[in-house]
């Protein structure tokens, strides 16, 4: 019999992950593990985890990883990659981590064309701390610190990180994907692979922004969160390749 699917070796079998049921973080870390397996680079990989729900899988990974202070993953990854260029270094960061507290580190690493990969998980909210407003929260979307929903006059506009980084000359690759449908999951996997290949080829900064969910803090059932992504998130954050050079 032909084996068509097997569990990634990047995730421990004897542990349960820390994510809420239906959370796409689970899907994304599985995809990363599969790509590392398929490219046969698990023994080069270093994950730099941001602070947020992304950190919930640190114990669950079988390969080297470290945790950066909140927002500083791109700086930590810069240090690791420059000091040890043979490693495949990627950051795994939420929207609060990458686009709010870490904005300076994120933009600066992109602008240096740092030869690292960013996996940016945009769920439009601060998941870990209980549903506060993020820079990516949609208009009208309620958050515990924006009880009436986000309004432009008070909170400013949702931040489009791919488009912001696309203003810079250095980045090699910027793509926005989602995991809301099987087809989009496959596209996300392809994008992650491409971003890792870019790093191995020395192309410089690559980022995959993944439109994700947070059923717990959005206050919806996991299935309904897929509809929310389709109807609300994707019109604000259109999918596709923004930069590929």
């Amino acid at each position: 019999m032909e084996k068509v699917y097997s569990r990634t070796t990047g995730i421990r079998e004897d542990m349960v992950n820390g994510f809420c049921p239906g959370c796409m973080h689970s899907t994304i870390i599985k995809l990363i593990g599969e790509v590392l397996d398929e490219m046969d680079i698990m023994d080069k990989a270093v994950g730099v985890l941001g602070i947020g729900c992304c950190g919930l899988h640190m114990e669950y990974m079988t390969y080297d990883n470290t945790t950066a202070p909140h927002g500083r993953a791109c700086a930590v990854a810069t240090g690791i990659k420059r000091a040890n260029p043979d490693s495949l270094v990627y950051t795994y960061q939420g929207d609060g981590d990458f686009a709010s507290i870490g904005l300076g580190e994120s933009v600066s690493a992109a602008n240096r064309g740092e030869n690292i990969t960013v996996i940016f998980v945009n769920n439009g909210i601060y998941g870990m701390t209980g549903g506060q407003m993020a820079p990516t929260t949609l208009f009208g979307m309620k958050a515990s610190t924006a009880p009436k929903g986000r309004i432009a006059e008070e909170h400013g506009y949702p931040m489009h990180m791919c488009e912001i980084l696309n203003q810079l000359t250095a980045p090699a690759y910027l793509e926005r994907t989602s995991c809301n449908t099987p087809a989009n999951v496959m596209k996300t996997k392809k994008a992650i692979r491409k971003a890792f290949e870019n790093q191995l080829n020395g192309k410089g900064f690559s980022m995959v922004e993944i439109i994700s969910n947070c059923p717990t803090n959005w206050g919806v059932e996991p299935l309904d969160s897929l509809t929310f992504i389709e109807e609300k998130m994707l019109p604000e954050y259109p999918l596709g390749v923004i930069r590929d050079k």
Binding site: T9, M42, D43, K44, A45, V46, V48, M58, E59, T62, Y63, D64, N65, T66, T67, A68, P69, R72, A75, V76, A77, T78, G79, I80, K81, R82, A83, N84, D86, S87, L88, G104, E105, S108
Partner: protein
């Protein structure tokens, strides 16, 4: 080896390179700009990495990353810039990352002044970040000492897998002195340092090699990690360094470190000629502190301690008080905000004390 004439900051950077430091990240701030500038020129010559970080926050985190690979790494800043680094320093302590950093300290609080000061004593010795971690903290009072301390700091950092701080006032950082530079570690030695750290380094080991787990304080192991770290701090008594100058018969004992101690020492030579029995206790490690030097004084002879430092209010005085334990009065001779301690101020303070 021949003596060379070097500025404190540049000497610190060269000492680090010679100790095998191959990664430096920093952000400009006076009076330590010569450190990043020196590394920018020097690192390419030795196959090392220099990065100008976009901030102090980014720079310390780059060092946290580079240190995580087992590469000898360093950053530096001054006072308010050190405050910005404190979260990253705490992460390094938590993850047990060896790294060395220097504070070429200036006036404060806030942006303060660019001139030399000793106003970061409590921050440096008691809490350079959250969580109650500790570090070896060395305070040079000559450029030569700054060199030797920096060179050795990498060994201590490696030994303990812990950050080490060079607490250097802006005077020592910016003055030029003739110095002897230590041996340059060979490329083979530098490679061996990194190789020796492979066991715990975050470099990509793969599934068949021992999984490297550098875990900055994950809750399950946090208490165990803290107990382990505390036990390591307990072993530092042997690392205490202190200079006792003309203390044996002294009736007045000056307590001072760094440039203040050097100024005080020159005052002592004058005062001794006037017949005043004055000596100096100079903590070389300000953490751990040489309490014993104050504890063992014969207080039937010692009339008073004079705490001399460039900080208002005084900070070193808290450690001095612990050692003296109310056995004699402690007076102060202080400057602050970028004003340098003068010999005349020390002379006056000691003469007044002597008349009492």
């Amino acid at each position: 080896m021949a003596r060379v004439f070097m500025k404190g900051c540049e000497a610190i950077a060269e000492a680090a390179v010679r100790a095998g430091c191959r990664f430096f990240a920093g952000y400009p701030i006076t009076p330590q700009n010569e450190i990043p500038e020196y590394f920018a020129r020097r690192m390419p010559e030795v196959g090392g990495i220099f990065v100008q970080g976009e901030s102090e926050v980014a720079s310390i985190n780059m060092v946290y990353g580079a240190g995580s690979t087992g590469t000898r790494s360093m950053t530096s800043s001054s006072s308010c810039g050190i405050s910005l680094k404190s979260e990253g320093i705490s992460y390094c302590a938590s993850a047990r990352i060896p790294m060395v950093f220097a504070n070429i300290s200036r006036g404060g609080p806030g942006v303060g002044s660019i001139h030399p000061a000793q106003q970061d004593y409590l921050q440096a010795t008691k809490a350079s970040g959250n969580g109650g971690f500790e570090m070896l903290v060395f305070a040079p009072s000559t450029v030569q000492e700054a060199i030797d301390m920096t060179y050795n700091a990498f060994e201590y950092a490696q030994r303990d897998r812990n950050p080490v701080l060079i607490l250097c006032d802006g005077v020592i950082g910016t003055m030029m002195e003739p110095v002897k530079l230590p041996e340059m570690k060979t490329d083979e030695e530098v490679a061996a340092f990194k190789e020796g750290n492979k066991e715990w380094a975050c470099i990509g080991h793969g599934k068949d090699v021992k999984r490297s787990w550098i875990e900055p304080g994950h809750w399950r192991g946090q208490e165990d990690a803290n107990i382990e770290a505390a036990a390591m701090y307990e072993t530092w008594d042997k690392d205490v360094q202190v200079e006792e100058y003309l203390v044996e018969d002294a009736q007045i004992v000056i307590a001072a470190y760094g440039i203040s101690a050097r100024v005080a020492k020159s005052a002592i030579d004058i005062l001794r000629k006037e017949g005043i029995k004055v000596g100096l206790i100079r903590p070389i490690t300000v953490h751990p502190f040489p309490y014993h030097s104050f504890e063992k004084l014969d207080y039937s002879r010692v009339k008073a301690i004079l705490d001399v430092e460039m900080s208002i209010p005084a900070q070193l005085i808290y450690d001095v008080k612990l050692g003296v334990n109310n056995r004699c009065p402690i007076e102060t001779c202080l400057r602050s905000g970028g004003q340098i301690m003068s010999r005349d101020a020390v002379l006056d303070a000691v003469r007044k004390l002597n008349e009492k």
